[in-house]
């Protein structure tokens, strides 16, 4: 997560202690600590750490319809090999890559653009902010429903085709055409609509942190307000937030599942990894061993890409703030 670098060093607070003997005081703080943190940590162990380890264990077994495979079902790295040789799985990774290549820059640019525009107007600013943020209340399921059944339904009465009609353009089948580019337009606009407002708010908060004096000084130095101040002041000042927003968008993109399932379903032409894993591990086959191997491969890919992006964007360098 974007924030972790600076936060990674917890301050051992110098709490006020009762003036008793040192040892019993320390024991009491230890007990108090586990009062507070214990229940959470137990839950996290049971529902995150153990499942992840268990799944790593399952990935070495032929575990169909079972979570406790017998020892003779041990298959070594077979699941991994089969997963990596599986065209459908590799296609899903490509689908994800294409999706991210559209969604990450577009969401970033759109949310920053909205924030800058809002920063410019005085009138009805709160109203605009609410309107752009409102789609965040919509679930992906509801948005998919509107996109699939009303805007891009591919028939005459659909909204997009009605608009094209005005310009005398033929109806487009949108989602129902298994070759790109149309279904990408549907999927990407949906996510843009839901997410823009969220990141816009992050950018608005960041824009308000930029010290006014910088613009004053630039003005005095003869910089033109607008393009020049944007490239030389606003953007550099937004660096930390921009890196964080890019990471958040990318991480959210990895989790893409809801809209793909509801818009397209289990179709090979646009099936991101999670959808594939969902159907192969929890569908009719219930092949939990292969599914676990796929999840771990995906986790590895995510870790590598995140690290690369971090390195590329210079995440982790401390800036003078």
């Amino acid at each position: 997560m974007a924030v972790s670098a600076e936060a990674a060093a917890p301050e051992a607070g110098t709490g006020v202690r009762a003036p008793r003997s040192r040892r019993s005081g320390r024991r009491r703080t230890t007990i108090a600590f586990w009062y507070f943190v214990g229940p959470f940590l137990v839950g996290m162990t049971v529902f995150t750490f153990i499942p992840v380890l268990w799944s790593a264990y399952l990935s070495f077994f032929d575990a169909r319809n079972t979570v406790t495979p017998a020892s003779e079902d041990f298959v070594g790295l077979d699941n991994y090999v089969r997963m990596l040789q599986d065209d459908a799985f590799r296609d899903s990774l490509i689908t994800f890559t294409v999706f991210a290549a559209f969604v990450v820059p577009l969401t970033f640019a759109a949310s920053l653009g909205l924030a800058l525009m809002l920063n410019r107007v005085r009138l009805a600013r709160a109203f605009f902010r609410s309107v752009f943020f409102l789609p965040f209340a919509c679930s992906y399921v509801v948005a998919s429903l509107v996109w699939k059944m009303s805007i891009f339904n591919g028939v005459r009465y659909g909204m997009a085709n009605s608009i094209l009609d005005i310009f005398g353009i033929e109806d487009v089948p949108w989602l129902f055409d298994p070759s790109p580019p149309w279904y990408w337009l549907v999927i990407v606009t949906l996510r843009l609509w839901i997410q823009c407002g969220f990141y816009m708010i992050l950018f608005i908060a960041a824009l308000q942190q930029i010290p006014e004096q910088l613009y004053e000084a630039a003005y005095v130095d003869g910089a033109k307000p607008g393009r020049q101040t944007f490239w030389h002041i606003t953007l550099p000042q937004l660096r930390a937030s921009s890196v964080a927003v890019l990471m958040l968008i990318l991480i959210a993109a990895y989790q893409a599942f809801d809209e793909f399932v509801n818009l397209i379903g289990n179709q090979a032409y646009a099936r991101p990894p999670l959808v594939y894993l969902y159907y192969s591990a929890l569908g009719t086959q219930q092949d939990l061993g292969r599914g676990s191997a796929g999840a771990l491969i995906l986790a590895l890919v995510i870790a590598i890409v995140t690290l690369l992006q971090g390195k590329f964007l210079g995440f982790g360098k401390t800036e003078g703030r």
């Binding site: 997560m1 924030v3 972790s4 936060a7 990674a8 917890p10 051992a12 607070g13 709490g15 006020v16 108090a32 600590f33 009062y35 507070f36 959470f40 940590l41 839950g43 529902f47 995150t48 499942p51 992840v52 799944s55 979570v67 800058l116 525009m117 920063n119 410019r120 309107v131 752009f132 943020f133 409102l134 789609p135 965040f136 209340a137 919509c138 399921v141 429903l145 509107v146 059944m149 009303s150 805007i151 009465y157 708010i201 992050l202 010290p211 006014e212 003005y219 307000p225 606003t234 599942f257 894993l277 969902y278 929890l282 939990l288 676990s292 999840a295 986790a299 870790a303 995140t306 703030r321």
Partner: protein, 291 residues
């Protein structure tokens, strides 16, 4: 951190103080964009109050001349879609999840931020490590866990595994690190222990922050799809998102009823947004971006 609140000074240097014409153009552009952003909501309302024949008519209809409110009663009377039940399920899940998450994550966050324990660092790194694992990757192993506990199609399966949210705990810890120490010290002098001062001093003085966390958790839980889809196998246990998705992918679809269902599903959140937006905005802005 520098926060400048002085908004006076020579006019012209500020990005916000572009020329009048530029500002007017921006305003008009924003109006157009706002209209576009509202289109999907308009479509939900239009279709929810129309007949199927009106929706599928080749001529574009802006609004049904006679709004069909019967769609609402039809929806709740339809035996094929357990709408009332799924709304109830979503409500229970979202409320319990919010309360539980708030309790577990604020106490854990406070403990990590404020109680000097030798291994607090190590515990904190464990929590951080879970942030690196995208939650979507853990759905399979978690499903395995939940099914072996026998919690499939059960409130326990829908709620309990989602309560231990590393990200919320992380946010809480960051917040409590910045909480004024003097207040707690005063409580300590008055003889309160950690537990007492947390509940009597820290919590009552963190209202806005807690409200922000609560609203974000509620919205996330109400809109969650993957986890309920995995866990809620029987129609009795469907949340509203699962019910809608099933409805959407069904073979025969009653369009107006489908959109009425969508309208009903987003209504609670529209209320949350209208009345608690201040907390939401503040919460989102706090989503760790201030480092």
């Amino acid at each position: 951190m520098v926060t400048t609140r002085e908004r006076r000074g020579p006019v012209g240097y500020r990005p916000g103080a572009a020329s009048k014409g530029a500002r007017a153009a921006t305003f008009i552009a924003l109006c157009v964009l706002a209209a576009i952003f509202l289109v999907p909501f308009y479509l939900i309302v239009r279709n929810a109050l129309a007949t199927d024949a009106e929706i599928t008519a080749p001529e574009w209809m802006w609004f049904s001349s006679s709004p069909r409110w019967e769609n609402l009663t039809d929806l709740f009377n339809d035996p094929m879609v357990p709408m009332a039940r799924s709304l109830l399920n979503s409500g229970v899940v979202a409320v319990v999840t919010t309360v539980g998450t708030l309790f577990l994550c604020t106490t854990a966050g406070y403990g990590l931020a404020r109680i000097p324990y030798r291994h607090a660092n190590k515990v904190f790194y464990l929590v951080l490590a879970t942030l690196m694992i995208p939650s979507a990757i853990t759905f399979l192993p978690s499903f395995v866990m939940v099914s072996s506990l026998g919690w499939i199609s059960d409130y326990r399966g829908l709620i309990i595994p989602t309560l231990f949210n590393g990200f919320v705990t992380f946010l809480c810890r960051q917040f409590f690190l910045g909480f004024p120490k003097e207040l707690e010290e005063a409580a300590r002098v008055d003889g309160l222990g950690y537990w007492g001062s947390f509940w009597r001093v820290v919590v009552p003085n963190s209202g806005n922050f807690l409200a922000a966390i609560a609203v974000i958790t509620f919205v996330g839980s109400w809109n969650a799809f993957l986890w309920p889809l995995v866990i809620a196998r029987s129609p009795d246990s469907w949340t509203v998102q699962v019910a809608l998705s099933t409805f959407l992918t069904a073979q025969t679809i009653n369009l107006s009823q489908l959109f009425m269902a969508a309208a009903v599903a987003i209504l609670p959140l529209i209320f949350v947004f209208l009345f608690l937006q201040r907390f939401l905005v503040q919460g989102v802005a706090q989503t760790g971006l201030k480092g």
